[in-house]
Symmetry: C2
Subunit: 280 residues, 2 copies
């Protein structure tokens, strides 16, 4: 989860995202609209008897914030690990993915985040394995994970003869609140999806600059320069009841742009993103 | 405002309740679902440049809670007065209404609240004033506010000849989270409206007792004993996707019962309450 504004727990219920699932939370910065869903979320997790550990990452101060409300409301009833990010780099490295932080350019210490799936093993061809005399079983797994093996009769079987090339994972770039930055463009290079804030339209460019935010056009320029596949605009000011102007502005620079909506579900593949239609 | 759960500011926008209006906030107790809307609400008021003072009342600890999140998120940009309630009684006495607190019986220090409108002047009969030779002007106001007056010719005019009897104000009783209590029944006597928690149905009576909550039937008994006009049940456990069972249970004891819904608007008069239909 990237950022946790007020009401997140309610949205989780609506989106059927369970409170006991494995997850990590990454907070971009300590402004209320990115943060104030945490106290209620942790309380609900406790109430629903979550047992799994939860990790929360954020700028310096996140620990004090969580301690502050816990001292009044009580501490979470499950293991909670809080990591304060001190500089850019890989902040979480797991089996399936890693997360990198990049300094953003906002009013206070802020980070953009990159979620990068680990490469997955290449496609395994069982018929080729059988042809070369490798029986179904643990040896297949070794081959899939790029180990060459030796059969009982001394025959060496090379992984690369049975398994296709490794497949790279999906990469997602999340800006948080920020002015356009070179660091984020570089870190987000060739992402499958960029989620970028677009607080203002271009007529408020000066105001965006003063408030350390981006316009829709600037977000599109960042996406274009980072050579990403798709761009989703979010964090749009409530001054825009109709967001079409921002979409037009962005699409002039970067065609593959959509605007985020509450409860939107998207499928992300190498080929692009697909918005999954919702019943309602 | 009585209690301020997570997401209150969003509901205020939906209900067209402005962030700069005169208001006071009364928190029943320091559990997240009654409290966690405050940080975001105060932030949004600051963002929208509220200037009017805001008063917040609650049990001991409310001050520490507001200080705790303000130290991370910044202090409100408008005058904020926080009152910690130490015992029952009148906690706010204004021109138009007063608010009383009554100790509730919950897991931690908790209060029920009574909102009582001040009596309003009786109906003024201008034709009677003119008949008795009182010219339109400041003397009329004196008469309306129960002062007798003397005209230039020495005639004394008694207020009671021109103004009907004083009209009593509306009285609303709000339980907060609590087991049924005698103190609340007494304080809520003859309210025009009682808003009472009904966390459980009667089959969970033991559990309600253990958790310092009420069942729908108990809430109805409280309403009946307090001889109120109308009862609204709220704070119903999420275990009830269908609340009709609770309504049936309550109505068997106290007929004038309805169940609260998000964004419900009701008009309260001496004659009863009316749910105002909403456009959607």
């Amino acid at each position: 989860m990237f950022d946790c504004g007020e009401g997140t727990q309610r949205r989780m219920v609506e989106a059927h995202v369970g409170f006991r699932r494995s997850m990590k939370i990454f907070i971009s910065h300590l402004h209320g609209d990115h943060l104030l869903g945490l106290p209620g979320l942790l309380q609900t997790m406790t109430l629903l008897q979550r047992e799994k550990e939860l990790e929360i990452y954020g700028p310096i101060g996140i620990l004090e914030f969580i301690k502050a409300f816990s001292s009044v409301l009580g501490s979470p009833g499950f293991p909670l690990k809080i990591y304060e990010i001190k500089s850019h780099g890989v902040i979480n490295d797991g089996e399936e993915y890693q997360v990198k932080a990049v300094e953003a350019d906002h009013m206070l210490p802020s980070y953009s985040y990159l979620l990068e799936e680990k490469p997955t093993p290449g496609k395994f061809y069982p018929e080729k394995a059988l042809e070369l005399g490798v029986p179904k079983g643990p040896l297949w797994r070794k081959l899939q994970y790029k180990q060459d093996i030796t059969l009982d009769d001394g025959t060496i079987v090379n992984s690369e003869n049975i398994v296709g090339p490794q497949r790279s994972g999906i990469k997602i770039a999340y800006s948080g609140d920020t002015k356009p930055t070179i660091a984020f463009i570089e870190a987000a290079c060739s992402s499958n999806l960029m989620i970028h804030e677009a607080t203002f339209d271009n007529s408020f460019k000066e105001r965006a600059d003063e408030n350390y935010h981006s316009t829709a056009e600037q977000a599109a320029q960042v996406a274009k320069q980072a050579n990403v596949n798709e761009l989703i605009l979010t964090h749009i000011s409530s001054r825009y009841p109709d967001v079409s102007q921002l979409l037009i502005e962005a699409k002039e620079v970067f065609e593959n742009t959509i605007i985020a909506e509450d409860l939107m579900i998207i499928e992300i593949t190498k080929e692009g993103i697909t918005v999954i239609p919702q019943d309602n």
